[in-house]
Amino acid sequence: MSEDAKKQIIEFLEGKKGKTKFYFNDFTKIFPDMKAREVKKLLTELVKEQKIEYWSSGSTTMYGLAGAGKQHATEEGE
């Protein structure tokens, strides 16, 4: 069950072209019947497995596939 759900999360992230960072509530939308805290547990496991990673501005945090998109602000392309 939880492995299936984690697979769904990875598929969701891989399916999004051009966007690499997502808010927490983008994931709760994938699982409308699941409690937010359950979804959070899945994300935490995926972080531990190094499949996804946090991205933080300091005030807000987002999630993305490990290694995808900008890693830090130096790659902001300015």
Partner: protein, 437 residues
Amino acid sequence: MAKHQTPLLDQLETGPWPSFVSDIKQEADRRAANPDGIEYQIPVDCPEDLLGVLELSYKEKETHWKHGGIVGVFGYGGGVIGRYCDQPEKFPGVAHFHTMRVNQPSGKYYTTKFLRDLCDIWDMRGSGLTNMHGSTGDIVFLGTTTPQLEEIFFELTHNMNTDLGGSGSNLRTPADCLGQSRCEFACYDTQAVCHALTNEYQDELHRPAFPYKFKFKFDGCPNGCVASIARSDFSVIGTWKDDIRIDQEAVKAYVGGEFKPNAGAHSGRDWGKFDIVAEVVDRCPTNCMSYDGSKLSIDNKECTRCMHCINVMPRALKVGKETGATILCGAKAPILDGAQMASMLVPFVPVEDPYDEIKEVIENIWDWWMEEGKNRERLGETMKRLGFQKLLEVTNTPAMPQHVKEPRNNPYIFFKEDEVPGGWSRDINEFRKRHLR
């Protein structure tokens, strides 16, 4: 000879106050001299480059810092804030200059050993510059490079029995006043709750999943030394249910000049003889005190627990004995919609280990806000958008007169049909017999 010329910053040192510019220069000199033989793990001259980049920003009126990134310690989504300089060639010492937040001890009690150990870690592995404390309350380590993060984290957690604090969409490091450890006004043990809830909510502190930041703060009494009412999404302020305790003999001693009002504070100038009516009775915001020339009386049911009378005459007046706390929600700084103070949600909760009454309110609020809150929306904004009554509903709090701040501002608590005996239904024909159209 300084590495960069900083005429604009130098000017800041000429003011009457201690200057952070002088502090940074002092650290730059000490690092260069290195009297303790520290094996610096990041560029020795980073304080110089920090001054250099700041001078440039003052000159050009543009920042050269870039925010954010994936930097952090493994498994944690907060506690490290990525900071990169966009002029790395001019200022290589601060090319990577991440901030780390460290959980401050409850009540900010330190031993000198703990402070020294913090500084030892940071002298070696960081810039040596700290901010004690950041606005949320944390110990803030200013500036290190990515490879040092895990090293510092290891030392903090294994050798110093502390942890990183919160940042991002996390529970932020809880903060409290020093409470019962030193203050006779404290209506509950702020440090005990702060510590207990910090441990209880480790997952929320380190693994972000909220719409935005969320802060708890604990004040032992309405004096509000951590200003929780203005600075936290969830503010717990000590209060009491029964009467203010009055020692009439001590009141007389204040009137007679034997005891100094305000425990001698504000004594820098001569205010004349203490006048209990002008300074206490007439200053009571609810006009609930009276003094007949020998006896002080308080109409306690009108008292709003403003603390004024107790602050002026602490030896004569004491908070009541039936103590607990009031819970208020929704304060925030002015990013959207202006600043907002907290609104009173629960007038009184007992504050006793294991704090189940408080945890229940917290968790109900989180469940609601995580579901309904928009991205980057503080609890106070969700409350405003969906209505205070919704907050009452999700926390199972019955509406009561204390929730109405000003009738014209926040006037109506709407009853639902099932809350009213008989409901709304009526026989329209019966009604029309009695009321003509």
